[in-house]
C-alpha cells in the first residue's frame, strides 16, 4: 500500500496553498494594504493630548464668593453653577444639555456655610460619571475638606480645630470605570487591531466560500487528506492571517509597548474568534453576495462593543453578551488601564468560552456544507 502520508505535511501543504492564493488575490492585497495605512493615518490624526481643565458642576447656596476665590486660585478648575441638585445630576447622566462637558458635580447642602463656620458636620454629595478616574474623585474629597478648613479659618479667624469635617458621599452615575485620563488616540490604539481582525474575517470567509463554490474542496478530499486536516489547516491559516495583520498594525502605531504579552494573547484569541465567524459566513453564503451579506451581518453587531468602550457608560447588558465584548474590554483593560492578568482573567475566560462556541458552530456548518457538495 506504500508509505503513509503524514498528516502534518498535508496540513502544511494546505496552509501554504492558502497563503499562495490569498497573496495572489489583488483585491485582498490592495484592501489590506490600504486598510492598514488608513488606520495608521487615522491614528496619527487623532488628538494625542487630553484637555486637563476640570469642569465641576456646583449646586450651592450663599457660597458664590468663596467659589470665585477658589476658581481664581486653582489653575485648571472651572465651576458651572446649577439651579438645583436634580439638574446637576441629570446633566452628568447626559439627560440635560450643558455648554460645558460636566462630568463631576458637587452638591453642597444649604446649611454648609453655616455649619462649617460653627465647626459642625454636614453632608456634601459628589456626583461623577463613569469616565472620571478614582484619583479625580479623591481630589474632590480633598477639595471639599480644604474648603471647609478655609471657611472656618477665614470667618472664625482661628487657624485651628475644632472643625468637624463634612461627610462626603461619592455617587457614580453609570458603570464604574476606574482609570487614568486617557487620550482618545490612546484608547483607540489597541482597538485598531480589533477592527483589522474583523475585516480579515471577511477575507477568510471569501477564501472559504470560493473553495466551496468552485468545489476544489472535493478535489482535496479525494486525496489522502481528511476533512479534519482541512479544518485544522483553515483554522491555523485564518488565525495566522488575522493575527499577523493585527500585529503589523500594532507595531506600526507603536501599541505593543504596554502589556504586550497580554495584548498579543487577546489578539490571538480574537483571531481565532474571527476565523470561526469566517467559517460560518464562508459556508453559509451560496455565492459571493451571500458570503458578503453574512459577513456584514456579523460585522455590525461585533463592532458595537468597541464603540461602547470608546464612549463610556453605554455598555448595557445586551452589549455585554456580544462575543466581542470580552475581547474589547480585555484589550482596553490590559493596555489603557494596565490591569494585571488576574484582573483581566474574566475577559479571557469570556473570550475563550465564546471561541469554543463560535469555532464549533463554524466547523459544523462548514462540514455540513462540504458534505452536501
Amino acid at each position: 500500500m506504500g508509505k503513509r502520508v503524514s498528516r502534518l505535511s498535508i496540513i502544511f501543504a494546505i496552509i501554504k496553498k492558502d497563503f499562495f492564493e490569498i497573496f495572489r488575490d489583488k483585491l485582498w492585497v490592495y484592501l489590506s494594504t490600504i486598510g492598514i495605512l488608513l488606520y495608521v493615518l487615522i491614528y496619527w490624526l487623532l488628538p494625542s493630548t487630553v484637555d486637563e481643565t476640570l469642569v465641576i458642576g456646583i449646586y450651592q447656596n450663599d457660597m458664590d464668593e468663596i467659589l470665585q476665590e477658589y476658581s481664581e486660585q486653582e489653575e485648571g478648575l472651572k465651576f458651572v453653577e446649577f439651579e438645583s441638585s436634580q439638574d446637576l445630576q441629570k446633566t452628568i447622566e447626559g439627560e440635560l444639555e450643558n455648554e460645558e462637558d460636566v462630568n463631576i458635580g458637587i452638591v453642597f447642602p444649604d446649611d454648609f456655610l453655616q455649619k462649617s463656620v460653627l465647626g459642625e458636620k454636614s453632608k456634601v454629595e459628589i456626583y461623577t460619571d463613569t469616565s472620571v478616574p478614582k484619583e479625580i474623585r479623591n481630589a474632590m474629597t480633598s477639595f471639599i475638606r480644604e474648603m471647609t478648613f478655609g471657611i472656618h479659618s477665614a470667618i472664625v479667624q482661628e487657624d485651628s480645630f475644632p472643625v468637624e469635617l463634612p461627610d462626603e458621599e461619592q455617587i457614580i452615575l453609570g458603570e464604574d470605570r476606574v482609570g487614568d485620563q486617557i487620550a482618545f488616540r490612546q484608547r483607540l490604539k489597541p482597538l485598531f487591531a480589533f477592527f483589522i481582525l474583523l475585516v480579515e474575517s471577511m477575507a477568510l470567509a471569501s477564501l472559504i466560500a470560493v473553495e466551496i463554490q468552485t468545489r476544489t474542496i472535493t478535489a482535496i478530499l479525494a486525496t489522502p487528506a481528511r476533512l479534519i486536516d482541512l479544518l485544522l489547516a483553515k483554522t491555523i491559516f485564518g488565525t495566522l492571517l488575522a493575527f499577523s495583520q493585527a500585529v503589523i498594525l500594532l507595531l506600526l502605531i507603536g501599541a505593543l509597548g504596554q502589556n504586550p504579552l497580554m495584548l498579543l494573547a487577546m489578539i490571538l484569541l480574537g483571531a481565532i474568534m474571527v476565523t470561526g465567524f469566517a467559517f460560518i459566513s464562508g459556508s453559509a453564503g451560496k455565492d459571493f453576495m451571500g458570503t458578503l451579506l453574512y459577513s456584514v451581518l456579523f460585522l455590525i453587531p461585533l463592532m458595537v462593543p468597541a464603540f461602547a468602550v470608546l464612549f463610556p457608560g453605554s455598555a448595557s447588558l445586551w452589549i455585554q453578551i456580544l462575543p466581542t465584548y470580552g475581547l474589547v474590554e480585555g484589550i482596553i483593560k490590559s493596555t489603557a488601564y494596565l490591569q494585571t492578568w488576574s484582573e483581566v482573567a474574566p475577559y479571557f475566560l469570556m473570550v475563550i468560552a465564546w471561541n469554543i462556541v463560535i469555532l464549533s458552530a463554524g466547523l459544523i456548518i462548514f462540514k455540513n456544507r462540504v458534505k452536501k457538495l
Binding site: V5, S9, I10, I14, K17, E21, R24, T214, A222, T223
Partner: protein
C-alpha cells in the same frame, strides 16, 4: 487470473426524500474499463461519489481492492485517481502549482511535472495561471492531476463532456494508455460512441437503477436489431431497403436480389448503444 478491484453490492443513496441510486450492483476486474452510461440526473455522479468515499453508502456495501470502503480511507484514496465533472482547479495558481499542491497531498516527494504536463499538451502553459485556460486545457490539466499518483483505479466523471473533438480525442488516447498500463477505469459518460470505443463493459443507468450491464458486443447482440441494408437498382433509380433477418423467407429474398443482379450493395446493420439505451429506457441520452 484477474482480481475484482471494485465491487458494489445493492448500493442506494437518497438526497432527502429523493432516491438517487437504487440497489445498484456491479463488479470490475483489474485492468477493465466500465462505461457507466446514463442521461443527466440518472445517478452516475452519486455512484462515483460513493465509490470514491465522498458520500457514505446509505444501503449496501462497496469493496475496493477487496477491502470494505470506510469513510475517509486514506490508504484507498492513495491508490485511486478521481477526475471530477466540474473543473475544480485553483484558478489563481499555475498549472504546475496545481499539480505540485496535489502531489504533496498524495505524499509524492519527487515527480516530473514537466513530463506530466507535456503528456496532456500543456508544457508550454505550465507556468500560466489556470484562470487563463480554455475549457479543454482545464480538462487536460484535470486528467494530469488525476494521474499524479499513478492510480490503480481511475474514476473519470464525464471526462470529455463539452470538449472540442481534438481535446476529446487527446483525453481518450490518455485513457487508452492508462488501460495499457493496467489501470482499472470507471468511466461515466453520456457519449455512447466513447463508451463503445473504450469500455470492456457498459452499464446503463436510468433513474438511479442499472437497466443493463454487459459487454458492448453482448448488448448489441441481445438487444440490437438483426437486419441488413440493401441498395438495389430499379430502372434508373437506386432504392435503399432494410430487411429484417427475423422475417420469414428473408434468405430467399436476399438470394433472389443477388441472382437478379439488381443488388448493388448489402450491409449488416448493427444497433448502436444509443439505440439499445432508447429501447430499454424509452429516453435519449442528453
Amino acid at each position: 487470473m484477474k482480481k475484482v478491484v471494485v465491487e458494489a453490492k445493492n448500493i442506494s443513496y437518497s438526497y432527502g426524500d429523493f432516491l438517487a441510486v437504487k440497489d445498484v450492483s456491479f463488479s470490475l476486474n483489474s485492468g477493465e474499463v466500465l462505461g457507466f452510461l446514463g442521461p443527466n440526473g440518472a445517478g452516475k455522479t452519486t455512484v462515483i461519489k460513493m465509490l470514491t468515499g465522498q458520500l457514505e453508502v446509505q444501503k449496501g456495501s462497496i469493496k475496493i481492492f477487496g477491502k470494505r470502503l470506510k469513510k475517509e480511507d486514506s490508504e484507498i484514496r492513495k491508490r485511486i485517481g478521481v477526475c471530477f465533472e466540474e473543473k475544480n482547479l485553483y484558478e489563481n495558481m499555475t498549472a504546475r502549482e496545481n499539480l505540485q499542491f496535489f502531489a504533496k497531498l498524495f505524499g509524492i516527494q519527487k515527480y516530473d511535472f514537466d513530463k506530466a504536463l507535456k503528456r496532456v499538451d500543456l508544457a508550454g502553459r505550465a507556468d500560466d495561471r489556470v484562470g487563463t485556460f480554455s475549457k479543454g486545457m482545464r480538462q487536460r490539466l484535470m486528467i494530469a492531476r488525476t494521474l499524479l499518483n499513478t492510480p490503480d483505479i481511475l474514476f473519470l466523471d464525464e471526462p470529455t463532456s463539452g470538449l472540442d473533438p481534438t481535446s476529446s480525442q487527446a483525453i481518450r488516447e490518455i485513457i487508452r494508455e492508462e488501460m495499457e498500463r493496467g489501470a482499472t477505469v470507471f468511466l461515466t459518460t453520456h457519449d455512447m460512441h466513447e463508451a463503445d470505443q473504450l469500455s470492456h463493459k457498459v452499464a446503463f443507468i436510468n433513474e438511479g437503477e442499472i437497466v443493463a450491464l454487459d459487454t458492448p458486443e453482448n448488448l448489441k447482440v441481445e438487444h440490437g436489431k438483426r437486419s441488413v441494408k440493401v441498395r438495389v437498382r430499379r430502372g434508373k433509380k437506386i432504392e435503399t431497403k432494410t430487411l429484417s433477418l427475423e422475417d420469414e423467407g428473408v434468405g430467399e429474398k436476399i438470394k433472389s436480389l443477388v441472382d437478379s443482379k439488381k443488388l448493388l450493395t448489402i450491409h449488416t446493420e448493427e444497433s448502436n448503444l444509443e439505440d439499445i439505451f432508447i429501447k430499454l429506457t424509452g429516453r435519449r441520452l442528453e
